[in-house]
Symmetry: C5
Subunit: 154 residues, 5 copies
């Protein structure tokens, strides 16, 4: 049994963590630690504490980015912070970010967010099984938040 960290924000407009927690609870006995911060730039420290203080084996980080160029810059800073944290820890942070310009339809944003959260929760469970547990799907064009694109056939 492992411990899965869940870091999320009050900025996001969908409770993505809730969907991921549902998938984890339905498919495993893993323990969950949750940490909620204001915005995605606060996620790296939350992830670090989930690894170091709360002893998580893997973390999922949920965020939602606005549609403006400055929002992209901020999501980049959050992602770089999470690279620093996961490289230091030697443990994966699955970044589950939704960008508000992925669709103009709020309902579709909701569906993307839910689908991405749930599929990445399954990814987290498989990654915990070992470094080759996902190898059967290597190069298969898997997507989270939308349909798989699939392998290029020639």
């Amino acid at each position: 049994m492992a411990k899965i960290g869940i870091a999320d924000t009050t900025f996001a407009r969908v409770d993505m963590a809730g969907f991921a927690i549902g998938v984890i609870n339905n498919n495993s006995e893993h323990e969950i630690e949750r940490y909620t911060v204001p915005g995605f730039k606060d996620l790296p420290v939350a992830c670090k504490l989930l690894f170091e203080k709360y002893k998580c084996d893997i973390v999922m980080a949920f965020g939602m980015a606005g549609p403006e160029p400055i929002d992209k810059q901020c999501s980049h800073e959050a992602s770089m912070g999470m690279q620093m944290v996961q490289v230091e820890a030697g443990k994966h942070i699955l970044e589950v970010f939704v960008h508000m310009d992925e669709s103009e339809d709020e309902k579709e944003i909701f569906e993307i967010a839910k689908n991405r959260a749930e599929k990445h929760a399954l990814n987290a469970l498989v990654l915990l099984e070992g470094k080759e547990a996902l190898t059967k799907n290597a190069g298969m064009g898997k997507r989270q938040g939308k349909d798989d694109e699939g392998e290029i056939k020639v």
Copy 2:
């Protein structure tokens, strides 16, 4: 009782730190340490010293960015520096930045700055209570500097 660091700049055109200090003093007994630097690229070192030398438990960093592309680049550098500092410290820096292109009206910039500073001061107080103190608002579309966008309902 905790210690809250306040890092701000002489470059900014609004005394955001003053608003945050008001909120902190009205809502808590926490001690405050303030550190003022010329511009936002000087904030990361100020934050580091607030953590290491002045033993702050959390830091709020206030900055204001000009409207030009080079100003965005500089704010990015400041933000990356603060990611380095907070990841190293394992403690949150709440970045309270206002971009001068958020409005063409100076009065509105003032209101954004005041609102963002005050709401993030409240976030700092709640974060000090623990990792799930903000979870009741996870995914609720909270905003600082403007009205909440709210949860997407489907």
Copy 3:
């Protein structure tokens, strides 16, 4: 005999790692360790573990980036993470990335991916021979994924 790490993703649409493994096995006795992750932002941690836990001497990291600006940003974050890892380890990660906007023709993307994977597998084998093993080709305009451009003659 050395150990070569192979890190790849389920996001990619071509099994580039498979081509590289073929080249390595046909041209050497080196041992191979494979690690498959969901997307390229997960590669840096995989590479770190291939170095530290699985004792690889060099790593090849395979990824495929979508055609949108946000995909470029994400590939940048993955690359920066891999810079952190390889600089810390003092060992090379050969980054084998294909961008979906390198061609509008899927078949050509496949050929670029295969060629780049195979040529970089040969690069990995030569790099393992020492710091001057590639010097005979220094400044010769070598390319992976397409034809060599060659040396500028004056």
Copy 4:
């Protein structure tokens, strides 16, 4: 008495360091250590050595960036390097950069460079006095290289 590091470049077209040294010598007894490098990407190492080998308490780094996008990229890399150095040292590097596109008039570039160097030299002297020595000017819209913008009044 403190020690102030001065790092500058042969690339710049104005001897900004000279102006800063004049201000420091006219207003303090602080010792000065100077380090000149070819371009601004070489400044981070110079700053690090000024801190570690030459025991400076604060460093001023002077650079001039060309007008092209690639010059902005390079200045960004220099700035990121200096963030790494100052965050590691826990000591301030005041970055005094002039961009050649701040004016089309060389004489004005000269004036901006001189003014920015001199005002930041005064900032360095005040920062050495302590973390609240600049607080009286917090949020006052101070500028270096041009006139102050001042506080937004409402």
Copy 5:
């Protein structure tokens, strides 16, 4: 007598390292260690090994970037990796990069590459003499790869 590291790539289309080595050998007794990698993203690890394993006192890193936006992104990643390495080592890496969009004429690219390599080789020799050896040229608008722009006179 010092040791100068030379890191270069098979991707570049001009043997810049060769020109630099000529200058070093004609003007000094310094020892040279060369390390050739496939592309410029592989330079940071080469530089690190030149410092740590081969005990170089300074390193010159030669690379050539393609003309597309993605090439600029890759050169940025290489440069950031080299900032990490040189800041960690506290020793200079002189980055000698040529961008293929500096000229549409291959012959001119060759001349820029040769000139930049040779002038930076001289810079390396002077930097080895100490932190103020270049100060006589501070602010003098020196350029590598093209003619000096010179000091702004007012």
